[in-house]
Subunit: 634 residues, 2 copies
Amino acid sequence: MTLSDELRISLDGKWRHVREQSRKELATFDLSYDHDLTLDEARERVLGQMKKLVATGIPAAGFKVSSGGTGDPGASVTGIEMLAQFDLSLMVKAGVQWGLFGGAIENLGTEKHHEQYIPGLINLDILGCFAMSETGHGSDVQSLETTATYDPATQEFVIHSPTPSARKDYIGGAAAHARVAAVFAQLVTKGESYGVHCFVVPIRDEDGNDLPGVTTSDDKHKGGLGAVDNGRLVFDNVRVPRENLLNKYGQVDEGGTYSSPIESSNARFFTMLGTLIRGRISVGGSASAATEVALSIAGRYALKRRQFGPDPDHEILLMDYRMHQRRLLPLIAKSYAMRFAQNQLVARMDRVQSSEEPPPAHQQRELESRAAGLKAAQTWHATKAIQEAREACGGAGYLAENRLTTLKGDTDVFTTFEGDNHVLFQLVAKELLTSYAQEVGGLDPVGMVKFAAGTVADVVKERTAASQLIQRLIDARPGGGDDDHDLLDRGTQLNLFEDREQHVLETAARRLRRAGSDKVEAFKVFNAAQDHVIRAGRVHIERIVLEAFTAGIARCEDPEAQDLLRDVCSLYALTAIEEDLAWFMGHNRLSDTRAKTVTALINDLLDKLRPHTLTLIEGFGVPEETLGAAMLVD
Amino acid sequence: MTLSDELRISLDGKWRHVREQSRKELATFDLSYDHDLTLDEARERVLGQMKKLVATGIPAAGFKVSSGGTGDPGASVTGIEMLAQFDLSLMVKAGVQWGLFGGAIENLGTEKHHEQYIPGLINLDILGCFAMSETGHGSDVQSLETTATYDPATQEFVIHSPTPSARKDYIGGAAAHARVAAVFAQLVTKGESYGVHCFVVPIRDEDGNDLPGVTTSDDKHKGGLGAVDNGRLVFDNVRVPRENLLNKYGQVDEGGTYSSPIESSNARFFTMLGTLIRGRISVGGSASAATEVALSIAGRYALKRRQFGPDPDHEILLMDYRMHQRRLLPLIAKSYAMRFAQNQLVARMDRVQSSEEPPPAHQQRELESRAAGLKAAQTWHATKAIQEAREACGGAGYLAENRLTTLKGDTDVFTTFEGDNHVLFQLVAKELLTSYAQEVGGLDPVGMVKFAAGTVADVVKERTAASQLIQRLIDARPGGGDDDHDLLDRGTQLNLFEDREQHVLETAARRLRRAGSDKVEAFKVFNAAQDHVIRAGRVHIERIVLEAFTAGIARCEDPEAQDLLRDVCSLYALTAIEEDLAWFMGHNRLSDTRAKTVTALINDLLDKLRPHTLTLIEGFGVPEETLGAAMLVD
């Protein structure tokens, strides 16, 4: 077993068998990009590829055995993520069909819906779409405008788009392939609104024509994801049977009386959304998978391409330039960090969703918060790293045949869909600031201000203490809290991250607490602190990621691989500290003298890791023959 | 005259008449993007658009009257830059034909070449390309492998690609339209090589077929610039007459004897390259123009789109969120800064190139250095700002119909072509570190180490003193150098930037001076300091830009506009300081206390500038009706 095998095993995590299977099977599916196809041709092609996926068993893994699946949530998410190594359009199409549309039926529907739809949607007899976003409202799902009004006379719901901004938009599958939509709409019965619920609405007939009252249209070209048929849906009083309400969390009886197991409409809404968590997890994981491909391409190119040097006869490998090391190695280190964090998240989600019991509310909220934060962190890392990979390959990087521009364009919207990243970090901060208070749903800034309690420190401490390993490392750090410690020591790094998070949270809470009870005033206070609040979400996630990396190293069984991972982890930690150095200095966490060593330590780590560049790339487990970059083949 | 008119006049600068003309004329040319076209169709369309440009007079402006042009370099560069507001493929095609190909003939050729080619290339009877980059060498032009070997028997040069990596690559026009190429190749005569020279080489016949010995091929799809027919050229002993050497800086007589007005082959090479400076200037300016379009789109959307708020009935404009202000306003401020710097650069270039006398060497080198550095600064700003603009518009930003993804894809390669940005900042630093020493050509790291003299401080001081206004502001700053000064004071800001530059340069010089005379050893010393050296180039340019902004404000004649520009300038300066805050703190330029005020001052400026958002956008002078973003029209 080589060193890179050991690294790959560490990064592959619990669902390694799924990754191994995908690497083998997908390589035989001819998934390489064809830029000459028209929109229509590309869409047809990806539909054909989806059909091949059915046989891999990945689609069925996402559904409970009782619904017609094989009940392996971790395998499902990992399988979707692996598609991102090959073609992100395919990953998104698969995610929409089996993850979002299928997930809505599975999690919001009840037995009759499972029976009616799930076997057919697994094998693609039923092609669906997930009609949540509207032109007027994206991340703010609670404010959607589409209505579903119950008509007791016919026992039907009337689905309607009351305004132009109520148009469903950016809906994958809506432009061409979907026959059925899971439509999110405000449920209205007996003149009263009960908030957003989900309805199964047929939108096209067998021949692909819009059904009466439904108007579909096409978002056409986008910044990437060319084969995904994103489109729009407008409903003009479309009637569906009462049974088409996915009624696990809310029911309307024949006479029109509403009932729900969850009394508060706010709590109900967030419970429903919370069950759809896999979407965010898949987007984050797929962003990381695409990033690993991009860094594999740019890294291998840098190990092949020579340019300039002491004299014309001694041209230097790109990877031997200090600047090139600075550009690529910290991004590779961060990708390692992200993968460990993602694996941890998937394992938690799998535990929660495999259990027959609903999880304790606090645990569910924490899982949602982590999924939101890691989605933001991973997708921004993807945007930055793929951009850098493109630039690091110069003109060759700009040619489509070398894949980097496609990876960039395809992943670009990941920072937006499944929730705008700023909104997501804000959500993470809100959960921390209100100690996961049940009372505060979603992003409600006024609620955030009201509940910003004095318990912030406890939230951080409590959760850190959950991991004995982390606490032991922090306790064992040299210097015992003064400045004279070793920045390469993991306990010191963990302590710096935790300490920063606690301080940022506490000061944010203090600012928010200044607000009174007036709604408009409270919003102003919140808004003035918004950048501070979002920062709190970000530094929380940076700590979570460092802790996950630390835990991942502990699980690695090969001493040599462990040593290498330790250096990679320190490069991640020190790069993050360097990026926020002014904060650590200004808040007396690092003296000027100590701060100056950060850059020098990073450069030492670059020297140390440079000889392992290829090993680290191989550790990502993206087979060289599937990279599909022409410049690496010449 | 409105406030935004006053701003626009300030930003339009000396060639305002060209900008006004372009705004009017180009709006009538139907330049909107059509994503449904195939590569071939898009290429044909852009060629048709170029033909319309001939009548605008912009193409002729780039050439001396004696060569058949109208002799207005500033108008030429400004005219090219204005194309970038409409379609970057058109801008690149125009830049290749009239700027690069035409520029090579004009600047490297002599009278006979001017007569033979320039009238025809202005009116597009002669379609040319600029065959410099090779698959093996891009930014390192001195190491190109293509050879041009003189054969006295036939009085011809034999153009040849000796290796696969000698293939000309990424050449705009080479895939389809160009009939003639300006080929850069190592001139060899009598068995000796005299370095890179430029040759006019016919590559296609009237019907578009490759001429004997020439093999063209197609780079096909790229990350953007879909209508630009980038391609490759391979030469198999292609013979051209002796007269096809563009012989202003090097001549071979009939018998094969080489002569040149410049003895040193190194100096000759850099003199030749230096005459081609307009390419870099156009790329930088065009990147800024595209950025202004993107920020105009995202800014206007933020003034229209509401999302979340204190309650569902009071949704808030995106632009009223602190975070959104933080995302967009500093980028708008930086775009103002960049435009002032670009205008200053174009004016200098115009002065130098309009003169019949060659400029003093020092002045020419400084101009080249500034063009290189501003190209890097502007193109990286474009990459960052257009990305942010896309994200700030959420899902709508990802639809091609809203233009942002096209702007992103089209400008993406600007950080690479006309010189990789890291290489360019390194070049800037080298010039400063060696005091523009004639002896050190190009990027030669060994030369840089050798010449890193003790005069760095003088270089900075000398050049700053050139502007009395700047010096006066610095001298008049409050506090006289201690920490108790007002960070909103321009003199204080200028002093901080200048002081930082001087320190970074001095310490870089000190590190480089440690090297001995051994080439390999010198390279190691340089490489260990490479990030430091590149940083020196960057902070130099940041100072130049702040000074240009300051000078631009002084030239503005409307007091109200001046006041507004002052705040915009401070936002630029303070954002730059915030991004580098750890440096200013760690080097005792800002106390911890003072450093903490930076963020608060920025937030104050955001509050102050928020009401002027639309005015600032209008100041860019991108007419609303030419923005072409569907979401702004609804």
